[in-house]
């Protein structure tokens, strides 16, 4: 036989090419899926130093978010409550509970409880709670149903594209400002209509340019 390659060579070659194409396609697809912020960034649920249940406090007991995170309306920053806030009640409620030992120690020593940050934005992003809350964006829009979470977990991607979605079309996410902490609020009509009214009355037009968030 004189030819360099056997007759089968071409078949082999075609299979190889086909295989290559398929694998490459699959790889690309998988990457696209797993690198998507929705998949990549959500679901983060760090273990907190104290087993504090938002479900219990905000859900069952129906405490308002602002009792602890009392700066959301006044500041860019939503304060993590100082130990005193816990002790306001827990001097009376379950004063002996072993689970609260850490809290009592912190109160006694004046050392803060090192809570773990759940919702982290890049340092060059300047998110302002005051601006959003006073516009009528509910906590639930970014933090999800915290009142149903035993351990707080990140449910939204918090990516730039995700922010832009809302900045481009805020209406569906707006509600009367007194309802922002009412996580289970169900509007009786199309939320977008309500949102549009609020936008009109409050003159809300979220920034779409860089300096809106990056300074």
């Amino acid at each position: 036989m004189n030819a360099i390659f056997p007759k089968s060579a071409d078949r082999v070659f075609r299979f190889a090419v086909a295989g290559l194409v398929v694998t490459a396609g699959a790889a690309a697809g998988l990457y696209a899926y797993f690198s998507h912020p929705k998949v990549l960034d959500t679901g983060y649920t760090p273990v907190q130093p104290v087993a504090y249940s938002h479900k219990l406090h905000a859900g069952n007991l129906g405490m308002d978010c602002r009792y602890c995170h009392f700066t959301v309306e006044k500041s860019a920053f939503a304060a993590i409550p100082p130990t005193e806030v816990c002790m306001n009640c827990h001097v009376r409620v379950k004063p002996q509970s072993p689970q609260l030992q850490r809290v009592r120690d912190s109160y006694a020593r004046g050392e803060p409880i090192p809570w773990v940050k759940v919702h982290r934005l890049p340092d060059y992003v300047y998110f302002n709670h005051q601006a959003h809350v006073s516009a009528g964006v509910s906590c639930v829009s970014c933090h999800g149903r915290v009142d149903q979470m035993i351990e707080v977990k990140q449910v939204e991607p918090l990516s730039m594209a995700w922010c832009l979605d809302c900045h481009r079309n805020p209406a569906p996410k707006l509600r009367p400002v007194e309802l922002v902490t009412k996580l289970d609020w169900q509007p009786d009509r199309d939320p977008a209509d309500i949102g549009r009214e609020i936008m009109r009355t409050k003159q809300i037009h979220p920034p779409l340019t860089c300096s809106g968030c990056h300074r």
Partner: protein, 961 residues
């Protein structure tokens, strides 16, 4: 990308350092007491602590004494929101009122206190930069005994034994005291130790003016000038806009008389006669190049012209030639404005000159009108120090307590302080730095930074302010008052008690108000009616012009007398006139340089009274011939990392006999060259219409002189309209701008602008967002100077935006040319294509070596840029956003005019910068844009800059043009 918020991260790291452990254990026990529910100071601190995790701990370092937020601050603390406190900063005896912005307990930014007469809302470069001193990692941290770390307790034990007797051989040496409460403690100490003596010494002192007043009035008085009333001003070697305090209020008043809205408006006229080219000289309508030592003669000639002593008496030499012509015109001008003119002499001029000036002002009817006097007590400082030195030499001093200052470095050379101090048995040194003096002390005590401790300060005009701390001492620093109180057994020991007790006359509400406003209700010093004794003054001998080459010692615009040597911002801020950074140089005129055969950068040797100094020369056009100016404060040998060995120390040439103007200097070329780092190496405008200038005459003839005729400009594309909402714009009045660096430093502090160091500046990589472009025009020997603050012009058709491949810089609907650092990949194409060259690139990781502590100064509202990204002025967009969010939250729609102040605008003592909404016809900025003088630089490129300039108008004397 790291940002202002990085400090949280770095704090976590910091938390592992021993100092931090210490803070932890020192602070919390005393705070861990009651939680009252409502916002008491203490739980505020704990709020912060809790809210920020460890970051708050710094905040917790606030002392527990009650402090009240100032005007702008909200009464109750909200984590994340900045708070503002009123306090005071003093340079020698001149105090300036400040508002300090604090984020979560970290002071981050300094502004002037609008209610304070000496600041009027402005803060000069020294005050602006002083915040960096607070976070200086090289500060004196601990009590040291013979260099080894000790403690306050040990020192107290030692002091108890040492300071028992009547104070024989005990001497105190301090800087000039401007603090009433410290004066009280001082008085107490001198009563407690009757045989002790107290010497006050400032290298840059008011000795001569006070002596001059003594000659003229028979008593030391302090003169106050009222520029708003003066139509004609003659400044003799007096840099009242630059370094001869109190410049801020003077600058403001002067600038207000330079701003003209229409050709009909009246302007003041400034004549300057000086040796060095000062900011005041740059602002002058007529400047006479004159050796400082000839000012006396000039004054005499002026007196002759003014016929001060009547026709008959002809004891005075008359001027001749050009100078005569000049003088005659000036004299006529002054005479024509009796009671509305002003003659001043600088503190460097000898007493007799000041006496003459007082007399002339009196005869011109200015006394009581444009110049007023207040009583002052004065002991000649240099003399006092001289006596102290001789006592030390004679071994009569057993204990020397040095409070502040740095005499070993900056005492007159002939006193030989450094060797005499070794004869003192016990030297106790209290200061901010571990400097040359500390090195020779037995005990060194850390001084608290003025933002760390309580105190008070008296301004030039006698107004008093309470200096309230923003943080508890980061290290073990204590205030001078505390130290003296400790030594002398003063009834109160803690700074707060000392101050509060001194002001016990103030009721609690008054006290709160004083803290809140930043000024105490005590009135300024009462005006004093004095008359100069013409006969006596006439009899005074006039100092002859200096023989040989005259040498002028001047405080430096960057490091003053050397006390700011370790401040990177000030070191890197280019000298307003020479644009020299990280250095001083022997300034001389082109002619003098030619005669010496030296060029800029050549080393020269200056000999005087057997002392020699080798220093690089720098040619300064417009400097007086046969005269050399030596800026003080460089060549520090024991200093922090920043200032050590920077520049050349000229003190060795400065003797008690010639503190300001030295005669008989021998100057020659020395071998060797020296490399300067200049931020601007081309000084001519090349005939380009960049800074547009006219005389008042011309302006009245052609009100539109500022408008270059160029053909109709249009774009190939349909253009975006900017007629809705806020449209930000800025106008800079070149008539008001005096070229001081205040805006540059304010911008640096506000926008986390890095320091790059001498080498990188030489490479052309300085990062300042504002350049103060300085152009010489006219003859090289005697040019005029114009300044132009040049930052991003926010072009509507921005060339930089077009060329960015990744759209990292784009335009906002409000007309801002935005820079998204986090999108930037650093092609530098935008900077290349910027006709104004105002973009700055992070060539290296400038923040790499920044101390954790220094990061506390970062403004958390501004991203800290990493290497490889472009940055530039953005009209303080963080302030704009803050204001907009505030306006929204308050349901208030439009943002008030003047509600947003850019950092540069807010601090400008001349009010030269106006920022606002050009879409609102009534806003100040729109009004200014309507003026004839308004023009845009490089308008012919059709880039449509949002920053425009008001052309400069000088008001020369028609007789002299």
């Amino acid at each position: 990308m790291r940002t202002g918020k990085t400090y949280w991260r770095s704090l976590d790291e910091l938390a592992r350092t021993p100092e931090f452990e210490q803070w932890l254990h020192r602070e919390f026990p005393e705070n861990a007491s009651e939680w009252t529910g409502k916002a008491s100071r203490r739980n505020l601190l704990k709020l912060m602590a809790a809210s920020f995790g460890l970051a708050g701990l710094v905040a917790c370092r606030r002392p527990v004494e009650r402090i009240l937020p100032a005007a702008k601050g909200v009464e109750e603390y909200v984590p994340g929101n900045p708070m503002y406190y009123a306090t005071a900063f003093s340079l020698g005896a001149a105090a300036y009122g400040l508002h300090v912005e604090a984020h979560d307990g970290r002071p981050t930014k300094i502004e002037g206190n609008p209610q304070h007469p000496a600041s009027r809302g402005a803060a000069g470069s020294f005050a602006q930069a002083s915040i960096l001193g607070l976070y200086d990692p090289d500060r004196a941290k601990w009590v040291r005994k013979d260099g080894r770390r000790s403690s306050w307790e040990e020192f107290e034990k030692f002091a108890a034994g040492r300071f028992a007797g009547q104070g024989a051989g005990l001497r105190f040496l301090s800087g000039e005291i401007g603090s009433p409460s410290l004066e009280a403690v001082k008085k107490h100490a001198l009563q407690r130790f009757p045989q002790a003596r107290w010497v006050e010494f400032e290298p840059v002192s008011q000795d001569e003016p006070m002596a001059g007043a003594q000659l003229a009035f028979g008593q030391p008085v302090r003169a106050h000038y009222h520029f708003e009333k003066a139509d004609v001003i003659l400044a003799l070697d007096c840099d009242f806009l630059g370094l001869d305090a109190p410049t801020l209020s003077y600058t403001r008043e002067f600038a207000r008389r330079r701003k003209i809205g229409t050709p009909q408006d009246r302007m003041n006229r400034l004549y300057v006669a000086e040796a060095n080219y000062s900011l005041t000289g740059a602002a002058a309508d007529h400047r006479l190049r004159l050796r400082a030592s000839e000012v006396a003669a000039l004054l005499a000639e002026l007196a002759a012209e003014l016929k001060v002593f009547g026709e008959t008496l002809r004891v005075l030499p008359a001027a001749s030639g050009a100078r005569r012509k000049w003088l005659a015109a000036v004299a006529r001008d002054l005479a024509a404005h009796k009671g509305r003119c002003l003659v001043l002499a600088g503190p460097r001029q000898p007493a007799v000159v000041h006496a003459w000036v007082h007399l002339i002002n009196q005869l011109l009817g200015n006394a009581g009108a444009t110049v007023t006097y207040t009583a002052a007590t004065w002991t000649p400082q240099t003399q006092a120090l001289k006596e102290l030195a001789s006592e030390m030499a004679a071994g009569q001093v057993s204990t020397l307590v040095i409070l502040g200052g740095n005499p070993v470095y900056n005492a007159p050379a002939d006193l030989d302080f450094a060797s005499h101090i070794k004869k003192v048995e016990c030297v106790i040194r209290h200061g901010l730095e571990e400097d040359e003096t500390a090195a020779l002390a037995h005990w060194t005590l850390p001084e608290a930074h003025y933002l760390e401790t309580w105190g008070d300060a008296r301004a030039w005009d006698g107004t008093c302010s309470i200096q309230q701390p923003l943080v508890a001492p980061i290290y073990e620093g204590r205030s001078a008052a505390e130290v003296v109180a400790l030594l002398s057994g003063y009834p109160h020991r803690r700074a707060y008690d000392i101050v509060r007790n001194f002001w016990s006359a103030l009721s609690e509400p008054q006290w709160r108000k004083a803290l809140h406003d930043g000024v105490t209700p005590t009135p300024p010093s009462a005006e004093l009616k004095v008359t100069a004794d013409a006969r006596r003054i006439q009899g005074l001998p006039l100092p002859p012009p200096a023989t040989g080459v005259e040498i002028n010692f001047q405080p430096d615009a960057g490091v003053w007398d050397g006390r700011f040597a370790n401040n990177g911002w000030l070191q890197e801020a280019p000298d307003p006139m020479t644009k020299l950074t990280w250095d001083n140089a022997a300034l001389l005129s082109p002619a003098t340089a030619r005669s010496l055969g030296v060029n800029t950068g050549d080393m020269i040797s200056i000999q005087r009274e057997g002392r020699e100094l080798k220093i690089p020369a720098m040619i300064l056009p417009g400097h007086a011939d046969n005269s050399i100016t030596l800026p003080l404060g460089y060549g520090r040998t024991r200093c922090g990392r920043v200032g050590r060995g920077v520049g050349h120390n000229v003190y060795p040439l400065r003797t008690s006999g010639a503190m300001s103007i030295a005669a008989g200097g021998k100057v020659s070329k020395a071998p060797g060259r020296y490399k300067f780092s200049l931020t601007q190496d081309h000084h001519s405008m090349e005939g380009r219409p960049i800074v547009r200038e006219a005389t008042l005459e011309e302006y009245r003839k052609h009100p539109h002189f500022a408008h270059e005729p160029h053909q109709e400009l249009f774009s190939l594309y349909p253009e975006h309209s900017y007629d809705k909402g806020n449209q930000w714009g800025m106008v800079v009045d070149l008539n008001a701008c005096i070229g001081c660096n205040a805006c540059l430093l304010a911008c640096q502090a506000e926008n986390n602008i890095p320091i790059v160091g001498k080498k990188e500046v030489a490479r052309g990589r300085e990062m300042h967002w504002i350049r103060l472009d300085r152009y010489f025009s006219g003859p090289e020997e005697d040019p005029e100077v114009v300044y132009q603050p040049m930052a991003c012009q926010q072009c509507e058709n921005a060339p930089c935006e077009n060329v960015c491949p990744v759209a990292a810089t784009a335009h906002s609907p409000e007309g801002l040319n935005e820079m998204a650092y986090n999108r930037c990949i650093g092609t530098r194409y935008c900077a290349n294509n910027c006709p104004y060259k105002v973009r700055r690139f992070n060539f290296l990781e400038w923040h790499k070596d920044i101390d954790q502590l220094q990061r506390m100064q970062f403004n958390p509202d501004v991203t800290v840029r990493m290497r490889g990204v472009m940055e530039k002025c953005n009209y303080c967009v963080q302030r704009i956003q803050e204001a907009k969010i505030k306006a929204k939250a308050e349901g208030r729609r439009p943002i008030r005019d003047g509600e947003i102040l850019t950092a540069c605008q807010q601090t400008c003592p001349a009010e030269a910068i106006v920022f606002g909404n050009i879409n609102d016809p009534n806003s100040k900025v729109s009004q200014l844009r309507k003026q004839d003088r308004n023009y845009a630089v490089l308008a012919e490129l059709n880039v449509k800059p949002r920053t425009t300039y008001l052309a400069k108008v000088r008001n020369p004397n028609p007789e002299l043009v």
